[in-house]
Symmetry: C2
């Protein structure tokens, strides 16, 4: 409740739904947007419409893209035979910022979770198994968060792929309970170099 006009009140309520913004920071952000109407509010609204109209999932890996197959999957420069498995697109971006992995990705879309009743078919695990066969993959690198669900998922995938290809996982440098997207690039690079067979 701000006694603001309805249009502004509605914008504040929507902004407050964003992760990382509470009601107070949503109010501040909206007042800032109104002050910066020309250089920020209009461009932001346009950018949102553009993303809403174009963003989609890569049909191969689940990355966010504006084309049927994402830029990484369709690039001729990426190494063939290696897939790095991540939980979500933010983690893919974190791996790319580290700049060390030259293969392609597979975005699971979450982790197995007994609590949330998320099973293998709710994630892109069956599609990963097919890709390993179809693309002649020799190594799958699991870059999952060092959480209980992340590690449960890693072991499930390792079992599914047993005998089909090497399965390794990020090791040294990922703190227990830590999330990839919070780590600095050097830590991620070190963990990738020190990856070990599961």
């Amino acid at each position: 409740m701000t006694t603001a006009p309805r249009e502004i009140e509605e914008l504040i309520e929507l902004m407050a739904k964003l992760p990382g913004l509470g009601p107070r920071s949503a109010r501040r952000a909206v007042l800032y947007l109104i002050r910066k109407r020309g250089i920020l509010l209009h461009p932001l609204a346009d950018a949102m419409h553009a993303v809403a109209a174009t963003a989609r999932e890569c049909i191969t890996c689940g990355n966010v893209t504006t084309t049927e197959v994402c830029e990484i999957c369709s690039s001729q420069k990426r190494a063939i035979g290696e897939i790095c498995v991540v939980e979500d697109v933010a983690d893919l971006w974190a791996m790319e910022r580290a700049g060390m992995f030259k293969g392609r990705y597979h975005v699971l879309g979450g982790t197995l979770s007994a609590l949330d009743a998320i099973g293998p078919d709710d994630l892109r695990i069956p599609r990963l198994v097919r890709r390993v066969a179809d693309e002649g993959i020799t190594e799958v690198i699991l870059a999952l968060n060092a959480t209980i669900d992340g590690q449960t998922t890693a072991h499930y995938i390792a079992e599914e792929l047993e005998g089909r290809c090497a399965v390794t996982s990020l090791a040294q440098g990922v703190p227990v309970g830590g999330e990839l997207d919070y780590l600095d690039d050097g830590t991620i690079s070190a963990a990738l170099r020190a990856r070990k067979a599961l």
Copy 2:
């Protein structure tokens, strides 16, 4: 840098300009928006366009509004003769949430600042002086932040209005160096009740 498509990259860059959002939270927010495209991304873009098209300053008090004169200034229910002076609209909203002040407002648009070369004419101080005469104001309540610039501004206004009306300020309960918008409603109410003559 996220290796995301250009449209998404641009949206992340714009989101990162919002107060309270850094690059990481902007990336998270954009991925969240893409997942919630139908229920959040489209409505948010529409709400931004609506605000960009309608938001303006109240010509009387400087409040944000969609009409020439804001709802508070044009309300018949607000007490006549009292003006509460705030630095910005967020502070006006904080006062309204406290729900104790029944008069009208005057939004300065900042504080005097030697460092930033902000003088009285850069704020709505001349207009405040005119309002005191034109509207038959008997009391001006200064609800400025308890910062050095806020208190400098309070004393400047008190001198400008000397002999024209009573000038009081929020007192008890506002912590030194504190900002109004961070306070709970009870603290603001107590400070208003205990206001003292300057």
